[in-house]
Amino acid sequence: MTKLDSKIPQGPIADKWTNHKNNIKLVNPANKRLIDVIVVGTGLAGGSAAATLAELGYNVKAFCYQDSPRRAHSIAAQGGINAAKNYQGDGDSTYRLFYDTVKGGDYRSREANVYRLAEVSANIIDQCVAQGVPFARDYGGLLDNRSFGGVQVSRTFYAKGQTGQQLLLGCYSAMSRQIGKGKIKMYNRHEMLDLVIVNGKARGIIARNLVTGEVERHSAHAVVIASGGYGNVFFLSTNAMGSNVSAGWKVHKKGAFFANPCYTQIHPTCIPQHGDQQSKLTLMSESLRNDGRIWVPKKKEDAEAVRAGKLDPTNIAEEDRDYYLERRYPSFGNLVPRDVASRAAKERCDAGYGVGTNETGEAVYLDFSSAIMRYGQEEANVKGYHNASQTQIRELGEKVVEKKYGNLFQMYEKITADNPYKTPMKIYPAVHYTMGGVWVDYNLMTTIPGCYAIGEANFSDHGANRLGASALMQGLADGYFVLPYTIGDYLADDIRTGEISTDLPEFDEAEKAVKDRIDFFMNNKGSKSVDYFHKRLGKVMWNKVGMARNAQGLNEAIAEIKQIREEFWKDVKVPGSAEGINQELEKAGRVADFLELGELFARDALEREESCGGHFREEHSTEEGEAMRDDANYTYVSAWEYKGEPSDAVVHKEPLVYENIELKTRSYK
């Protein structure tokens, strides 16, 4: 238990970050030119870190598996980015953003990190505007805000439904400027396959050039992991197809602790799976829950008729509909937090009330007809149409809804071929984000000296559940405003080290391990494709380690994942050659790591005998199905140390101390 030191600075919470910055070591500009930093991943966290480190004068080597840094999956974030600007004058403050984030995370995050996040949030908006990010504005020319789930103020900045894209392109612009200057050396289509540790310090990586197939050595004085989350362990998720855990998992295997792997966010409003041929799920923005009402039929026979295609939902009478969120949570209704909404949908579908007409049968309705009629009536009043017919009111209402959500409705129609203005949308929860990740201290350094983890790849800020519009905030906070300072404290000791040679035996060894594994895959001559194993893993994860978990299921999952892993190594088939592009070989390496992570994930869920945020244990719930947290015994971070097989991993506990916020039961009733 002695190995974990979170290095939280002393003093009152509001002064910690300032005091810390005043006391850590600096590297002078001339010396920064002598120091190399590797950044793996170019999303909001990695992209902003790479750009800022290069601006400061470090020599940055940035890596991404995509063909351009602009394609990292941060680009797909829709809704917005939170910042405690209080432009709306609605009582927002650094403290409130801090409080909302800790509460939203179900009291399982580190106070000092979250406070710092809230503190630098306002700078992010200033910085992005200065870079030319076109946020939405009001008619007075000032920045507009909207409101998101789990909070009572409007602090979300946005750029239509493409906020992630605009912020990432801002990062990419800042990176491009440094690439043009030669301060960032960009390695596109490269994948990190191992970390190199020399004398106990992270000193480089082994990466595969995905175009030539060459295995390369890259050295640096520090390595930053910014490779995102591991939601694809479920096979189906809203993550990009290439999103993977490998960079984080490699550093874990080299000594970095992996924290809270079981904290996963399952987003309630995604387009349901259409069948077994599906490879990817699509999110519909949380903003839709402002006006959409969620329901399933009250009668089982109606649900059956709908599933059989014999009954149209618009023909189900109002009194035969069960608006179950409004029924169970009258005060928050359809706007309960993501974890609560997801579980409630699962509960209804499991009980036989699901309305999916697709091959899986799982779906609930998200219905805009009330909103359409309400807005239509308002419009009719405004326009003075006193005798408007229902049809006219509906037409007026549809126009209003189109203005608010037009692009989302269009996206839905493209994917499903259903018109959501006329018939309710069908939605179902899907894996979206992982709060767990590589354990880091206050400086964002892992348990390996010189190895850092930022953004979704680390664990620190969101506890057991992340609030909407906070992922973008954390990625940019880490990359623009936190890591560039804290890394200097470590690198100050490296000003006389000189360039790290890639001829060291540690590089030989790491490279050999990587090449051996590639050779294994190429020569295995198995009979099943990589996806075959990935899909099987995903099914176990979803059914037994998904929205609701219990000891029996988790024990089964652990055994089954182990079994799949053994079969994978015996029977996986990777066609083609290791020279040049081989997308199956890339996938094989990633799935091999998911097969290890998946087991640790299930173990972590098994050992956390409580329900908190996205982690729901059926044994630890009230009779009404609400989550029961156990603060007396589980107010800690589970940080896992690698010891070979996932079953041998050793847990270290970082106690979470709440000095500024009182622990309370979350209630949305």
């Binding site: 946020f135 990817k280 040049g580």
Partner: protein
Amino acid sequence: MSAHKGLNLTLKVWRQKSQKEKGQMETYQVSDISPDSSFLEMMDILNEQLIEEGKEPVVFDHDCREGICGSCSMYINGEAHGPGRGITTCQLHMREFNNGDTIYIEPWRAKAFPVIKDLMVDRSAFDRVMAAGGFVSVNTSGNTQDANAIPIEKQKADEAFDAATCIGCGACVASCKNASAMLFVSAKVSQFALLPQGQVEAKERVQNMVKVMDEEGFGNCSNTGACEVECPKGISLDNIARMNREYLSASIKGE
């Protein structure tokens, strides 16, 4: 459960081992494809089938599969991103096709986008154009002025946003008979030209970006407008006109 019948299709797919080797169209059959599948899911099924048969799967770029990362890039039946407007390849669904159809699938074709393998091309020329000036030169100090210090007219901000939604997929280049990158470059130039933050370096930006664009081997613009039609994000030709104005005024004031 699905009420739809599966589709049986003939695929003619461009196969090319590497940049140096010659490629050719190969014919494959796929059957029982759900009309609800996306085009790329259909390609996944083809690849599973090829692996099963001991053949090499078709290489293609793809990642987010929700139309925003700009990775996917297939020329389907003679159109960038296939039939349908305002969509990327990953947003194309199989219900757009009929049972028994033959579908032709090729990579982007442009001198500046050499084929890496099969349907995957090298679009790094776009990154080099961006590195020549696709940014505002402001450091990450956290000490920039307050975000609301300069109000920006809503209409201008919205126009800048529309230009900024370009996903850099390269459909404009692939659709253009001259393989011109004017729509891509002008979208970035416009975004910054419309915002006060971008004014300071406007002159250098447009000159430097256009210079690199020409060096990379993209063709000239002859105003046919195919790029705008095929652009999945509906980037307007007005941006090209704006860039031409910016370039002209920079050139006149320049030397």
